[in-house]
C-alpha cells in the first residue's frame, strides 16, 4: 500500500503543485497577452496541421501494415514504431540531416524548388508529425486488424469499388480507432519539444510553440511558464477525458 500511495503521490503532487502555484487572478490577462497567445495559436495550428499530415499518410500506411500483401510486414511494423521509443531530440537531428539545406533530401529541395524546411513553421509541422504519426498508425492498424475483412468482401460482391468499400464499410467500422488515434496524435504533436527545437529552432511567432515557450519563459518570467503549463495540462486532461468517455471504454 505504501509504495503504491507514494507512486500515486509522485505522479500527482507535481501537477497539483503547478495548479497551486498558478497566478489564477492574472490568468485571463496573461492568457490573452501577445506572447502567450502567439505561442498558443502557433501550437494549435501546427499540431492540427501535423495531425492532418499524419492522417493523410498514416491511415494508408496502417492499411498497408494491416491488410497489405508486402514482404517483411513485421519488420515494417517494428520500424514504424521506432519514433515512439526514439528520443525526440534524436528525431530532430535525423530530420535536420535529411531535410536540412545540405541534407540527403534537403539539398535537392533547396536546389530544385528553393524550399528550405529547417527553422520554419513547416519544419515545426514536420517535426511534430514525425514524432506523433506512430500513435495514429498503431491505433488505426489495430482497429483494421480487429475489423472483419469479410464485410469488405460482402461489399465487393454488391458491386462496390475499393474506394467505396473503404469509405462506406471499412472506415465506419474502424472509426473509433481512427478518432482515438487522431486525438492521441494531436495531443502528442501539441506537446512535442525535442524534435521541434532541434529541427525548427526557436523563433517567436514562427517556431516557438507552447512547450518551447514554457522552457524559455521559465528563466525570464516564471509566471508565464506556469500559465502556459496549466494550459497544456488542461488540454492533456481534456484529451484523456474525451478518450476515456467515448472510445477507450468501448462503444456504449
Amino acid at each position: 500500500m505504501v509504495p503504491a500511495a507514494l507512486g500515486l503521490a509522485f505522479l500527482l503532487v507535481p501537477l497539483v503543485g503547478l495548479l497551486v502555484r498558478a497566478p489564477w487572478e492574472a490568468l485571463p490577462q496573461r492568457l490573452f497577452s501577445a506572447s502567450v497567445g502567439e505561442a498558443l495559436r502557433l501550437s494549435l495550428v501546427c499540431a492540427s496541421l501535423a495531425t492532418v499530415v499524419c492522417l493523410v499518410l498514416g491511415v494508408p500506411l496502417a492499411w498497408l501494415l494491416a491488410r497489405g500483401d508486402v514482404p517483411g510486414r513485421s519488420v515494417l511494423r517494428a520500424l514504424v514504431t521506432v519514433p515512439l521509443v526514439l528520443p525526440p531530440v534524436v528525431g530532430g537531428v535525423a530530420l535536420l540531416f535529411v531535410l536540412g539545406r545540405r541534407g540527403l533530401v534537403g539539398q535537392y529541395l533547396d536546389a530544385w524548388f528553393g524550399v528550405s524546411l529547417p527553422f520554419t513553421t513547416a519544419g515545426v509541422v514536420l517535426a511534430e508529425a514525425f514524432v506523433a504519426m506512430p500513435f495514429l498508425v498503431i491505433s488505426v492498424e489495430g482497429a483494421l486488424r480487429a475489423a472483419d475483412p469479410r464485410y469488405e468482401e460482402a461489399a465487393a460482391t454488391l458491386g462496390a469499388s475499393r474506394w467505396l468499400v473503404f469509405r462506406r464499410v471499412t472506415l465506419p467500422s474502424i472509426l473509433p480507432g481512427v478518432v482515438a488515434g487522431t486525438v492521441l496524435c494531436w495531443a502528442r504533436a501539441l506537446g512535442e519539444f525535442g524534435a521541434t527545437i532541434t529541427f525548427a529552432g526557436n523563433f517567436p511567432g514562427e517556431t516557438t510553440t507552447m512547450p518551447l515557450a514554457v522552457y524559455l519563459a521559465l528563466e525570464t518570467d516564471p509566471d508565464a511558464a506556469v500559465v502556459l503549463s496549466v494550459v497544456l495540462l488542461l488540454v492533456s486532461v481534456g484529451v484523456l477525458a474525451a478518450l476515456r468517455d467515448r472510445w477507450i471504454s468501448g462503444p456504449s
Binding site: 472483419d148 469479410r150 464485410y151 468482401e153 460482402a154 461489399a155 465487393a156 460482391t157 454488391l158 458491386g159 462496390a160 469499388s161 475499393r162 467505396l164 462506406r168 464499410v169 465506419p172 467500422s173
Partner: protein, 349 residues
C-alpha cells in the same frame, strides 16, 4: 444463358477441380462434407478468389480464365447471401439493401425506394429503419436475401443460408426462401451441408468430396441411388459396392447379398436401416439375406433406435424401442441381421 464453370483452384495442400453447369432459373445445391471445397467453389464464382485453372463463363461473357481474364467481384452481376449474413452493422436494414444499388450508380432516392420494395417483398417493411443487431436471425437472413437480390443479379450464391438459424425458425425461413428462389429468374447456386435444405430447395444436387464432384442429379435420383458413403449417410441408407451375378451380389468388402432384380457387373446395393430385422437366432421363412453380426453401438433417435452392427457386411439397423427391450441389446452381443431381397436395390456403379 447458362453458367458454365470449370473450377480449378490449386492451393498446394488442397485442389479443387469441379465442373458446374447451372441453367437459367435453376437452383443447384452444392453439397459436401466440411473441407470438400464448397466454400472455395463459391468464393471462386463470386470473384473473391481467382481460379488457377479452368474457366467461368456466363451468357457468353468470361468472368475468369487464368491467366488472361479475371473479373473481380465488384464487376460481376452476382448476389451473395453469406453464412452469417454480414449485414453492415452501422446501416439500417433499408440502407443495407440499397447499398448494392448505390454502388452500381443508382441515385439515392431511387435506391431507397427499390430497397424498400424488396424489404416489403420479404415481409420486413416494418423493419426498414432497424439496425441489423436488433433483428432476429430469421429477419437478418431475409434482409441478406433482399440485399443480394436487389441488384437483379444473374447469379445468386447462397452460402449455408439456413445454418445460423434455430430449428423452429429454419422450417419457416426455408419455405420462404424456396418461394423466392422459385421466383428468381437467374442462376442459383447454394452451398450447404444439410441434405434437407438441398433436397427441398434445389432442382439438382452436386455432391463434392475432396474437391471433386462425386455425384450429381435430381434430389430424387441422389436420394435413391447414392454413390458414395457420404451421400448414403446423408440420405440415411446402407450402401455397398459389389459385383452382381443375377440376383446375387458379391460385396467388395466381404459377404453376399441377394437382390430382387437380376443384374451383372459392378453395382451399388442400397437398403434403408428400417428394412433390417434383428433376430437372436437364424431367421426362418421367406427368402431373405441373413448373416451374423455383432452390436458395435446403439444410438437413440427420436422415435427409433439406431444400431450399428459389425459383420460381413457391417450394417445400420433402425429398430423400435420395443425390439430393443425384447432383445436386451448391449454392445458386443451377437445377433442375426436379416433383409428381404425385395428391400435391397441394386444399380450399376
Amino acid at each position: 444463358m447458362t453458367l458454365h464453370a470449370d473450377l480449378g483452384v490449386d492451393r498446394g495442400w488442397f485442389r479443387l477441380a469441379a465442373e458446374l453447369v447451372v441453367g437459367p432459373g435453376e437452383v443447384v445445391a452444392l453439397l459436401g462434407p466440411n473441407g470438400a471445397g464448397k466454400s472455395t467453389a463459391l468464393r471462386a464464382l463470386a470473384g473473391l478468389l481467382p481460379l488457377t485453372g479452368g474457366h467461368i463463363r456466363l451468357d457468353g461473357q468470361t468472368w475468369d480464365e487464368p491467366p488472361r481474364v479475371f473479373r473481380p467481384a465488384e464487376r460481376r452481376p452476382i448476389g451473395v447471401v453469406f453464412q452469417d449474413y454480414l449485414l453492415f452493422a452501422h446501416m439500417s436494414a433499408v440502407e443495407n439493401v440499397a447499398f448494392g444499388l448505390r454502388a452500381r450508380g443508382v441515385g439515392r432516392a431511387a435506391a431507397r425506394a427499390e430497397a424498400a420494395r424488396w424489404l416489403d417483398r420479404v415481409g420486413l417493411a416494418a423493419h426498414a429503419r432497424a439496425k441489423p443487431r436488433t433483428l432476429s436471425g430469421g429477419q437478418a437472413q431475409r434482409v441478406a436475401l433482399a440485399r443480394a437480390l436487389a441488384t437483379g443479379p444473374e447469379l445468386l450464391l447462397l452460402d449455408e443460408p439456413l445454418a445460423a438459424l434455430d430449428a423452429a425458425t429454419r422450417l419457416h425461413v426455408r419455405a420462404e426462401l424456396g418461394r423466392h428462389l422459385r421466383d428468381f429468374p437467374g442462376h442459383t447456386l447454394m452451398v450447404t451441408h444439410d441434405p434437407l435444405d438441398a433436397m427441398v430447395l434445389a432442382d439438382r444436387l452436386v455432391v463434392l468430396e475432396h474437391g471433386r464432384v462425386v455425384q450429381q442429379g435430381t434430389p430424387t435420383e441422389v436420394a435413391r441411388r447414392p454413390r458414395t458413403d457420404y451421400v448414403a449417410d446423408l440420405v440415411g441408407l446402407n450402401l455397398y459396392r459389389g459385383t452382381a451375378h443375377g440376383t446375387t451380389v458379391a460385396l467388395d468388402d466381404g459377404g453376399t447379398l441377394t437382390v430382387a432384380t437380376p443384374a451383372t457387373g459392378p453395382v451399388h446395393v442400397v437398403f434403408p436401416p428400417t428394412a433390417v430385422g434383428l433376430h437372436p437366432e437364424h431367421p426362418t421363412g421367406s427368402p431373405r439375406n441373413a448373416w451374423r453380426v455383432t452390436v458395435a453401438g446403439i444410438e437413440q433417435h427420436a422415435h427409433t433406435t439406431r444400431v450399428r452392427l459389425d459383420g460381413a457386411p457391417p450394417v445400420l439397423a433402425d429398430i423400435t424401442t420395443a425390439t430393443v427391450a425384447e432383445l436386451r441389446l448391449r454392445p458386443g452381443d451377437e445377433l442375426w441381421a436379416a433383409v428381404k431381397a425385395t428391400e435391397a436395390h441394386a444399380y450399376p456403379s
